[in-house]
């Protein structure tokens, strides 16, 4: 019960996080007062930028671990993964929080963020996304709430929540499957704008599969890092299980990528030296092929550091994929319209602040809530 509570809050790292959050806060105020144009480099040729590409698409993808692990544990009853359910759900919650916050600042009329709930347009993927975010954030909050109720010793509520948990998780899984794919579906309509390296009619499913890979690796990454940070031993069997899952999803993902590459722009298109081609190579090479090769190699799976490397590569790869689709893959179009885009300092600062907030909240949760009950038991 003690270690985690021993986590020191006032470390230099925390200071850095706080500083980033403070800066982000200033940016946020500036953004609200002066508007998007003043705070960002967004323009008519690039209406969506870093906040959509990284914070929203990336944030949601990072959250995929939540539904996967929750589903695995609660629905598939795969008890082995129970120890990581809570951090996974927390990560998901934070991922969504990040998405919601960035979306809030990205919306031109943020005070109307509730409009989709009342003005229905089921044709719109964006509407579907909005509804998902709403429901799923609530769902995640419910999934996450036992930790809080435990801490507050509200046993009645805790019992109630645990009672309905299975339903909640099932609902969460359903939402997530849709949601992850919906984010991809946002781009179905830009058929002639998005670079064919990324555009295809299955883009929602690409998102889904890559989100699963992302989720697995994110959970693994977190376990490793928190084990290091909070000085407890990592569950190697869990990590290896996650790695096996990664092999399957990454493998599937790679096959899909290759098939659609060949069906679409062709193999040569990724070697033409263009910015898009190079980014594609980086994304698929660094984020899919290399991790797969590493995982299939025998000894990588045995060591924490090897797995960590793979996790980082996959997470970065999927994040890059989201940026590629949201920004770089559309760059050629925006440029042909006479525009250009590079995120402004403020865009970076806000993104950084949101990430910092996530890490900070994770740390707070780790300190004050029973985030790693199993780990505590083990020590």
């Amino acid at each position: 019960m003690n270690d985690t509570k021993e986590i020191k809050m006032m470390t230099p790292f925390t200071m850095v996080l706080l500083l980033a959050m403070a800066l982000g806060f200033v940016v946020a105020i500036y953004r609200l007062v002066n508007g998007l144009g003043a705070a960002t480099n967004l323009n008519d040729d690039f209406p969506w930028g870093l906040w959509i590409g990284f914070d929203l698409l990336g944030g949601v993808a990072m959250a995929a671990g939540g539904f996967i692990i929750a589903g695995t544990v609660y629905l598939l009853n795969w008890k082995k993964y129970k120890p990581i359910v809570r951090p996974a759900v927390l990560t998901a919650f934070l991922g969504y929080l990040m998405a919601v916050i960035s979306l809030f600042f990205d919306l031109g009329q943020p005070h109307r963020i509730w409009h989709p709930a009342f003005m229905w347009q089921y044709h719109s993927v964006m509407w579907i996304v909005a509804m998902h975010v709403m429901f799923y954030t609530t769902t995640l909050a419910v999934e996450f709430s036992p930790m809080v109720f435990e801490r507050l010793k509200m046993h009645g509520l805790l019992k109630f929540i645990n009672g309905i948990m299975m339903g909640v998780v099932l609902f969460g899984v359903m939402l997530s499957v849709l949601h992850q794919s919906s984010l991809g579906a946002l781009y179905l309509i830009v058929a002639e704008k998005l670079s064919p390296l990324w555009y295809n009619s299955l883009i929602p499913y690409f998102f889904l599969v890559s989100a699963v890979a992302m989720g697995l690796n994110m959970v693994s990454l977190e376990s490793i890092i928190s084990s290091k940070a909070f000085k407890h031993k990592p569950h190697m069997d869990i990590l290896q299980g996650l790695a096996r899952g990664s092999i399957i999803t990454l493998g599937l993902y790679l096959i899909m990528k290759v098939i659609y590459l060949l069906q679409g722009p062709g193999f040569a298109a990724i070697f033409n030296g263009s910015m898009e081609a190079n980014l594609y190579l980086l994304e698929v090479g660094g984020g899919v092929v290399v991790p797969l090769v590493l995982l299939l190699g025998t000894n990588v799976k045995q060591g924490v550091n090897g797995l960590l490397t793979v996790n980082i590569l996959v997470v970065a790869g999927v994040l890059l994929n989201r940026m590629n689709i949201a920004v770089f893959g559309l760059y050629g179009y925006g440029k042909s319209m006479g525009g250009s885009y590079f995120p402004s300092v403020m865009e970076f600062l806000l993104t950084l602040a949101i990430v910092a907030l996530g890490i900070f909240l994770f740390k707070v949760a780790a300190k004050y809530l029973a985030l790693f009950p199993e780990a505590e038991m083990q020590t």
Binding site: G35, D44, L75, R112, P116, Q121, H123, M174, L178, A185
Partner: protein, 257 residues
Amino acid sequence: MSKAVLIDLTRCIGCRGCQIACKEWNERKARRTSFHGDYTNPTALNSDCYTHIRFHEQEKNGVPVWSFVKNQCLHCKEPACVSVCPVTALKKTEAGPVVYRYDRCIGCRYCMVACPFHIPKYEWESALPWVQKCSFCSERIKDGMIPACIKVCPTGTMFYEEYDKVVAEAKNRLNRSPAKYVKHIYGLEEAGGTSWMYISGVPFEDLGFKMNIPVAPLPDLTWEYVSHVLPLFGITFVAGLGAWVITRRHANMNKEG
């Protein structure tokens, strides 16, 4: 019946009366510009400029060819912008115009991303910005007037009528003077058809028109997925529930055994 417009580029003299009339009717500000060696100004549409004339200069066999292209929302029959708007802030009206409803918009800018013709523009400089684009002067139409830009055009470049009549007129002109026009009605099929269409004496690809717009209505691209949403939802539900039931039974059996 819905209204439509045929822009006959062979008639446009690039006087930009339409550009001004639109600003005037819609009470749009001017922006600071500079001269950049080309008459097109502003160089692109913006939230204060719903329509402008693009000046395209080329040379054919040593002879200059100077074309003037009026650019504004095409009021697609099945508009991408409408289909993507999460709050139905954009709407295709029966009269033809695709209109914007300020009171709904949340400012997600998906419409801008989705429009195949790069039309909706954003008030980037404002703290609470709106999307802006040509409204086909829907308010004027409602009051029995014709759109402002069409009203002032000295050369009758724009033919404004019921959709069917406009299409018939376009075909008629192409048939009557095949030497004068390229054989294409831009907007008849692009993006599933638009309410504003063009005919031209110069190939459209030379005039900055996007030639790779799918012929199927763009919303179809998404609709396919959207129609899968409920089944997908159902499948996940059944699969999840099934998994739970099976694994629970399995676990109980283990306990019992």
